[in-house]
């Protein structure tokens, strides 16, 4: 696949990239509301829509980091408000386990965040993203792909042995039992 095209990560001074997983009913709608209300906020997020925060597989989070995200944001309905009753509680449990796992992997805690944002809280989309971008800007790049290359070089392995992928997959396997 031709991926050698310019993208927003290149050329310009480094700017953090956040992958956000938003549930369809509350947080994605809130982000739409922020749009309709023409609120201006930091452009660093790329949103993936899922039906419910309960759909967010820990592997999605790990995979986003592995592919170069500097931060991952999960957005769901407030407790008690999930369109499917309790998907957000499941998301919360996975979030807590994932946080510990990411800490063990050396990923700063500000890089992974879960927020309850209801359909009416366009302003919260703005404030959460602005705040997270500011924090990531301060932390600097996570650059897991780059680090992975370094680790591979250190271990003297050939590129085929995908170290972080292995860790990520194993880890995901573990936490996905929640």
């Amino acid at each position: 696949m031709n991926m050698q095209q310019p993208n927003s990560g290149e050329d310009a001074a480094w700017r953090p990239r956040i992958v956000a997983f938003f549930c369809n009913w509350c947080t994605y709608t809130a982000a739409d509301l922020a749009g309709v209300s023409r609120m201006k906020y930091a452009p660093n997020t790329r949103i993936v829509r899922v039906m419910c925060s309960g759909r967010i597989d820990p592997q999605f989070v790990l995979d986003a980091f592995r592919h170069g995200a500097d931060g991952v944001l999960i957005g769901g309905c407030h407790p008690g408000d999930c369109h499917y009753s309790e998907g957000n509680y499941k998301a919360l449990r996975r979030y807590h386990l994932l946080r510990r796992l990411l800490a063990d992997m050396g990923v700063a805690e500000q890089r992974f965040r879960l927020e309850w944002i209801s359909a009416s809280e366009g302003d919260k989309v703005k404030s959460v993203i602005d705040q997270m971008v500011a924090q990531l800007q301060e932390l600097g790049p996570l650059d897991l792909p780059g680090r992975r290359a370094d680790w591979d070089a250190e271990l003297g392995e050939n590129g085929e042995d995908d170290l972080t992928a292995g860790i990520a997959a194993e880890a995901a396997e573990e936490v996905s039992h929640v």
Binding site: M3, K90, P145
Partner: protein
């Protein structure tokens, strides 16, 4: 999942006038998309959602043999249906379409065009990668139960119920008070025409009662709701009124006979301005015309020590039943109309207006009762000391348009303040001062109404009232109620004005019902920032909600007057009717399914499902999903340790590709 060697993607980027193209360089995004593998056609167009825009898709599908479509434009929540429809018209399975939200999540919120252009490329790349592995899916149909539930019997609920019942549908109308009618039943006249509220409302109320297709349950509440569009099961709690509706003939002799010789209990319908007995009817035209026994004050119900004159008076009709208990009834309905209305702002929250402190400071709703011919004073505007006020101040926007209380304009207060000014002037012949911030008179006949009242000698003072205080610190010696001084800055002359008056009317704003949050949860819908129920789209779907089959009517959705309430109630009714008459609803095919050969039978998915759609097939030792029960949240998919549960439309591979596309490293 299959790798499609023969994928032919059409990529379309919309200018949306200048909404998108004003920020994002659409030409560069288009050219970039064209360079990506699988993309057969890449175009930009001014308005993709327009007919010619949609035609582009159809033509290209035919001419270029496209089998996948990506549209970079607005939110999929707005136009996914449109583009799926266009693809389907062109002969493609509609689920081969993916949208890229570069407007709501792009050009409308980010100003840096250079960065946004790059980000739009990232987002488009993600969609292009994703759509390659999309699969053809079939929509599932669920039948719609033709019965409808309407919650709330104000003018909105009444109008919606009658419209649907007239169309031959069975309607359950549930009202929590002892009568239907809502706020409108409390008014004497209505703006802008000043026609009598009762004259237009009571015939509709009786029509509800008489309609063969309406089951009216007053003094009832919703206890529980289960199910989904087409098939809701709702539990209604019928509170005991201790008078049997099936036996009562509405003669009211029980009220006459009650041992309470005089009425002692503040009457809520009259805003506490009069008293009622423990057995009472809210107002003479109440529907149903059946009294209620208030268990907190009825001597029999309280301590069993009454002589039960009411029972005697009822005689062999035998309608009074002290043993009645709350009854829970389950009903099956296909659609629901919420019409729970509004509440008024409590002016005691603004201490300097002196409500509750000075006896001559009233709310507008109290005044509605005072000017009402069937109200506590028979329509006379009198102070508590019995005098007719000579000078009256009406304070607009109480609680509304105020950072500290409610930011919104309540929309009806200017007009009803003018109505009250007219009525008070007519009834008292006194001087009336209306203090307003801006005179808001939009809508048919409203400006004309304002012109009419302003030529009737009402003093219109442009200024927000800053204080209401007694004229004199000494109470008047003659037992009268002392005047208060209303202070405001008259912004038209740039002076502070202090006007002494006998009576103040606070034009309180509209706010959501106290239990709106509860109702919202029960029906799984959302609220807007102020707490009113949230419509699916402010312009294009104003009576729908994000929960299919649940519609909104009237002021539960936001402040509005009676004409708009009735219009919206009619709209909600016709949306429900459209669904019912079609007979079925098509569900998004985003259900979960089990890959049996991989499933290890660990059962960890089973307790994840909020709909008990997953069961354990003991014979095969595998999980099994009942598609009819699955709502497509995907929680089980994320929890399966062996990745053997998948979700249509949100397959792992589709999401991974989206992530990779978003982040592809240069």
């Amino acid at each position: 999942m299959k790798q499609n060697g023969d994928v032919r993607i059409g990529f379309y980027i919309c200018h949306c006038g200048t909404n998108i193209a004003g920020v994002i360089d659409v030409d560069r995004v288009r050219d970039y998309a064209a360079s990506l593998p699988g993309v057969a056609v890449a175009r930009d167009y001014k308005y993709m959602c327009s007919d010619p825009g949609q035609d582009l898709l159809r033509q290209d599908i035919a001419e270029h043999g496209l089998n996948r479509i990506v549209v970079a434009s607005c939110s999929p929540l707005l136009h996914e249906k449109t583009f799926r429809g266009a693809a389907e018209d062109g002969g493609l399975n509609p689920y081969f379409v993916q949208m890229v939200n570069i407007r709501e999540h792009g050009s409308w919120v980010h100003e840096d065009g250079e960065y946004m252009t790059g980000k739009a490329m990232d987002m488009s790349r993600a969609a292009i990668l994703r759509v390659q592995v999309h699969e053809a899916l079939e929509r599932k149909r669920v039948p719609i139960n033709p019965a409808v539930l309407v919650v709330g019997g104000g003018i909105a609920g009444i109008h919606a119920a009658l419209t649907m019942a007239d169309a031959g549908k069975h309607v359950y109308l549930v009202e929590r008070e002892a009568t239907i009618g809502g706020h409108m039943a409390q008014f004497d006249k209505t703006f802008p025409t000043l026609d009598c509220a009762a004259c237009i409302l009571t015939p509709k109320m009786t029509a509800v009662k008489a309609h063969p297709n309406i089951t009216l349950w007053t003094y009832s509440e919703i206890d529980k709701t289960e199910g989904f569009i087409g098939n809701y099961t709702v539990t209604v709690k019928r509170k005991p009124r201790y008078v049997r509706e099936d036996l009562c003939v509405g003669c009211m002799e029980c009220i006459e006979a009650c041992v309470y010789k005089s009425a002692k209990i503040p009457d809520a319908f009259n805003m506490g301005l009069s008293k009622r007995k423990p057995v009472y009817i809210p107002f003479p035209q109440a529907v149903p015309p059946v009294p209620v026994l208030d268990p907190e004050n009825c001597l029999h119900l309280k301590n069993g020590t009454c002589k039960d004159f009411c029972v005697e008076a009822c005689g062999d009709r035998d309608a009074i039943d002290f043993t009645q208990e709350a009854e829970y009834i389950d009903i099956d309905v296909g659609t629901i109309v919420l019409a729970t209305g509004f509440d008024t702002f409590d002016p005691a929250r603004i201490p300097y207006y002196g409500y509750g402190k000075y006896p001559n400071v009233y709310t507008s709703l109290e005044l509605e009762r005072l000017v009402n011919a069937s109200g506590p004073t028979g329509g006379d505007v009198r102070l508590p000391d019995g005098r007719i006020p000579e000078r009256v101040a009406i304070v607009h926007c109480v609680g509304s348009r105020d950072e500290h209380y409610q930011r919104w304009c309540s929309r009806v207060c200017c007009m009803y303040s003018l109505k009250l000014a007219h009525l008070v002037k007519e009834k008292t012949g006194g001087e009336v001062y209306n203090f307003y911030i801006d005179m808001r008179a939009p809508g048919k006949s409203m400006e004309e109404f304002y012109n009419r009242v302003s030529t009737e000698g009402v003093h219109l003072v442009r200024g927000r009232v800053a204080d209401i205080a007694p004229e004199s610190l000494e109470p008047p010696s003659n037992g009268r109620i002392g005047r208060v001084v209303v202070q405001a800055e008259d912004t038209l002359i740039g002076r502070i004005r202090k006007i002494p008056v006998d009576m103040v009317i606070l034009s309180v704003g509209m706010q959501p019902q106290e239990d709106a949050e509860n109702i919202r949860r029960m029906f799984n819908i959302s609220c807007s920032t102020g707490g009113f129920f949230l419509e699916r789209h402010p312009k294009l779907a104003p009576v729908s909600t994000f929960t299919d089959g649940v519609f909104l009517a009237g002021t539960c959705q936001g402040p509005k007057d009676i004409p708009d309430t009735v219009a919206q109630a009619g709209a909600a009714a016709s949306e429900a009717l459209a669904l019912i008459d079609r007979g079925y609803y098509e569900l998004e095919p985003n259900t979960a399914y089990v890959l049996e050969e991989q499933c290890s039978g660990c059962k960890s998915c089973i307790q994840q499902c909020p709909y008990t759609a997953i069961s354990f097939d003991a014979e095969k030792s595998k999980a099994s999903i009942n598609e009819a029960l699955c709502k497509g949240c995907g929680t089980c998919v994320a929890s399966c340790p062996s990745a053997s549960i998948r979700q249509h439309l949100f397959e792992d591979e589709e999401i991974f590709r989206e992530i990779h596309g978003l982040l592809a490293y240069a």
